[in-house]
Symmetry: C2
Subunit: 173 residues, 2 copies
């Protein structure tokens, strides 16, 4: 298959569907025969989509973090996790172990001061030409937006959190 990959995508904004869109894209890339690597920042292993995605060939999903919400202070343990995720992403990309790489919630990790934004620009600089890179998370930095090819803002128009609905397994996580 001709590999015409190499673009950079960003899914950001305060609305639903950033991670789900990235996983949907992973599913689509798998369907076309590409190797997909997903690295999740600040997330444990309990989201429902992972179960089926992991059962497919040619996809690897690695979580770095716990399910405990990080405070804005950015505790040391969280910084260690985020740093590990970043190093792993660089390693996988440079070693040519994937065609499509998803760095889920990387912008949230920047927002919580777990990694400096300069590390993302460095990662983009090191990206091999034929690798498609997908970055997600609220509050994507304008500096990174400039470097991206596709940028979509998921804008929350309406959400039942506003009326106090609790997160539901299979829908919200």
């Amino acid at each position: 298959m001709k590999n015409d990959l190499g673009k950079i995508h960003i899914y950001t904004g305060n609305g639903k569907g950033k991670t789900t869109a990235a996983f949907g894209l992973a599913l689509r890339a798998l369907g076309a025969g590409y190797r997909v690597y997903v690295i999740q920042f600040m997330k444990g292993k309990n989201s429902s989509e992972l179960k089926n995605l992991k059962s497919l060939p040619k996809i690897t999903i690695k979580n770095f973090g716990s399910n405990i919400l990080v405070s804005k202070k950015g505790q040391n343990k969280d910084k260690v996790f985020a740093r590990q995720a970043l190093n792993w992403a660089n390693k996988i990309m440079v070693a040519g172990r994937c065609d499509v790489i998803v760095l889920d919630e990387i912008f949230l990790a920047v927002f919580f001061n777990l990694i400096p934004i300069s590390e993302i620009t460095k990662l983009i600089r090191n990206k091999p030409a034929g690798v498609e890179l997908i970055l997600t998370g609220r509050k994507a930095n304008s500096e990174i937006i400039k470097l991206a090819d596709y940028v979509t803002e998921m804008k929350e128009i309406k959400h039942p959190y506003q009326i106090g609905l609790a997160a539901r397994k299979g829908i919200e996580y």
Copy 2:
């Protein structure tokens, strides 16, 4: 499993990720053990994500339409397809054959005058309480937005169509 489903989601806007977010949500719901039914308006069978999704248990995907772009005139054949999709959606929901139903690009079908908006309000009125309904497509109507629980607008900030990149298999479709 306790079924706490029943909400209505809309993914709309001119940005990427509406269908991929809906498929990502389908994947998540499957992972939690729910039965998922996807009905695609105005779409043929060539998108890459379908291959793997279809291989999973508890999901059915049905396409109504061709891959030929419908003109704003709304030809008769396209109206027949859209009407079939709508009837099928009503039938599946009312028969209790799914927990989560995705009506992909239904708003585009309304925009192209293939179905009247009143048919969507009717469908929502007929929806069994425990069925989670996901509607996608550009130009969601404000009337339907009022009836929904979750509404996310995918806003295009940047897209390489602007610089003339052709759609790529595994990424765009």
